[in-house]
């Protein structure tokens, strides 16, 4: 067994209840994204590109699809004999079973998993953000600072800073204070939910935190503040590329719109940093005579007779003649009939939209419309 310099623990347990029907039957990291991917693909691909070959995926809520999707990990080159990707659900030991109680507890319950690789560093990331990040730079910064923990941060607009965990740093980027969703933020450096720890130190804190009866057993709420309070050497690592939390229908839709255009805010077609996806075997898509596709991303397996403008179409989507789709996100295996109108909507997997249906907000300023999994829509909505 070759020991590992670092491994990643990917938090994929959350239900993501603000995504409504999208997470009815699957965990948030398994939600479709970008016409081809699932949200978790971004974190997993980042690991692969950063040379991390051992990833523990901590999962609890509706793990089957995620389990089947991650499989043996070959899509991300994580089907390794030593290491690779492991889905880590809760379990029963001699003293009965425990569901994961918080993010820190989830890692605590898998200390033995981490220990078997004896890593120097552990990267803790979450499976619900859209970004391309080379974690090796974070590691370099961590080592250069001789830090106990390094937290990746991104500048957010000042008026949104109160929605994030905010880092207050000194001039060397050493973290001096951490505030979870502060009313009066002193900085706009928000935590991206990407933490690098020296394993020996984190291990100690996890065990300590577990014995604290009032702890919520969460990295942001408990572990980080405690380490800070103890005077640990903690640094911020500034990330200045695209990063988006897709925790709501609105932000999920926005992130899709960010993919479109000639120079999109976030490009998926990056040969040096491909995003890997599982089960990616579909035929080329077919655009019929009379169809019109502009400013859009269309994935394999689609058959298009209608007009698509400024939208994202996932695999195996069928669009009938006379149909127009604007500013929308169509998830996999959706069948859309003829003369349908879809605007500012997200249509979830396997939905069926019958001929002539109209799906659009009453007013342009209204919320994005969500059509849930396997729904069948006959007419106006």
């Amino acid at each position: 067994m070759v020991n590992k310099k670092w491994i990643a623990m990917l938090l994929a347990g959350g239900q993501g209840s603000r995504l409504g029907e999208l997470t009815h039957e699957l965990a948030k990291p398994a939600v479709s994204f970008g016409g081809k991917y699932r949200i978790i693909d971004f974190a997993l691909s980042n690991c692969t590109h950063s040379g991390i070959d051992t990833v523990g995926v901590l999962t609890q809520y509706q793990p089957h699809l995620l389990n089947a999707y991650v499989g043996k990990g070959s899509a991300w080159d994580l089907d390794r004999n030593n290491g690779g990707v492991s889905v880590l659900p809760p379990y029963q030991g001699k003293n009965g079973g425990h569901w994961y109680e918080g993010t820190a507890n989830a890692v605590y319950q898998n200390i033995h998993y981490v220990d078997q690789y004896d890593p120097e560093y552990v990267l803790v990331i979450s499976g619900d953000h859209i970004y391309k990040m080379d974690y090796t730079r974070l590691l370099q910064s961590h080592v250069a600072h001789g830090a106990h923990a390094t937290i990746a941060v991104i500048q957010v607009p000042w008026h949104e800073a109160n929605r994030f965990g905010i880092m207050n740093t000194d001039t060397t980027d050493k973290i001096v204070e951490f505030e979870e969703k502060p009313d009066q933020p002193k900085s706009n450096l928000a935590s991206m939910g990407v933490y690098l720890f020296n394993w020996k130190i984190l291990r100690k804190y996890l065990i300590q935190d577990e014995q604290n009866p009032v702890s919520s057993k969460d990295f942001g709420k408990d572990i980080i503040p405690k380490m800070l309070a103890d005077g640990s050497s903690m640094y911020a690592y500034r990330f200045d590329d695209y990063w988006k939390d897709v925790g709501t229908i609105q932000s999920l839709w926005e992130a899709h719109m960010d993919l479109l255009g000639k120079n999109p805010a976030f490009s998926l077609n990056d040969q040096k940093w491909q995003i890997y996806a599982g089960n990616a075997n579909h035929p080329p898509h077919y655009i019929s005579p009379g169809a019109e596709v502009k400013q859009s991303l269309v994935n394999e397996g689609c058959i298009i007779y209608g007009q698509i403008d400024h939208s994202v179409l996932s695999y195996n989507v069928q669009v009938g003649a006379g149909t127009t789709i604007h500013d929308s996100v169509i998830m996999p295996n959706v069948t859309i009939g003829k003369n349908v109108t879809i605007e500012r909507a997200i249509i979830a997997n396997n939905a069926v939209i019958e001929d002539g249906a109209v799906i659009r907000p009453v007013k342009q300023s209204d919320d994005i419309i969500l059509i849930g999994d396997r729904q069948k829509i006959f007419t106006h909505i």
């Binding site: 075997n281 019929s288 394999e300």
Partner: protein
Amino acid sequence: MGNVLGIINLINEKPFLKELTQHRCMASVPFGGRYRLIDFTLSNFIHASITKVGVFTKEKYRSIMDHLGSGKEWDLDRRNGGLFILPPVHPDEKMKGDLEHFYDHLEFFQRSHEETVIISPGYHVSKMDFNDIMAKHKADQADITVVYKDYHGTSVEKPIYHTCTFDEEETVTDIELYTSPVPGEHVCLETFVISKKLLINLIINCVGNGEYDLIKDAVKANLHTLRVKAYHFTGEMPFIHSVESFHSGNMAFLNPEIIRSNFYDSWDLYTKVKHEAPVNYGLSSKTSNSLIANGCEIEGVVEDSILFRGVKVHPNAIVKNSIIMQRGEIGEGAYLENVIMDKQARITKDTVVMGGFHPKVIKKAEII
């Protein structure tokens, strides 16, 4: 099935595809926007649950090795069985025929646990149900089953096809080698079912007699001593024997019905996964009756064409009735019609390239 050994026989490939087979064998020629010809046969094997496949290669097989890799995409990276590439054993001598090559790898056959062998070339574009063929083979109690298809292609100038005749019980009575078939004639698809034991005997006997040709010396020569039966393949399959028929065979896929029957209906066509992003259509793009693979970026006009992965069509470029292979790039204002563009070729700004009845072939990585 589990009890069948699949053999893909690349030995008898002919240089029909000219420039396209200059640096690769025919089985490795790209097809249908995303595939290589060999993917069809391999996928047919998978759908028949064949888990041990030997690919007998002759020359220019590096790209097929690249393409197949560990066999993972075809679920053939197995400890028991899996994918075996069997190159020539005496590369410095001219190969006398496929049976010689089989003989050199006799141990491969002998060590296999499978009792039945299916042999097929690597260039048939078809969805062939080997379970059904096997079932008939068994029901017929045949020694050898020969798969044939009624010829439907345009007439061929050179005599390149083998045709077979059979009686009313579908017992093969004759195989005529090297003919120019007319529509309706029974073309032997060089696809056979045979027991491993019999195949080994035939290989040893033929080679011992200085005979080296599977269809001629093992099958045809034994029509009267063995029970050789015919199986009528009635599915879609273009006859590909020239650059033109390769072009038209591709274009036949510009039809949602054909696409559906070949790529869906729970009959996945497996190929190497390349992780390309969805196609990005620009504001000025205009696409019609075309098959577009992932990773393309389209800002120009694409009509009646097939674009492989990662092709770029710049603004005001026009691509008509053409096949653009992987990573091709069509510069601004260029015009292409009736063209087959091999991988990584590039058409510079405002260049016009037109083929006539014979599609014009642009070589790999060529810049025009």
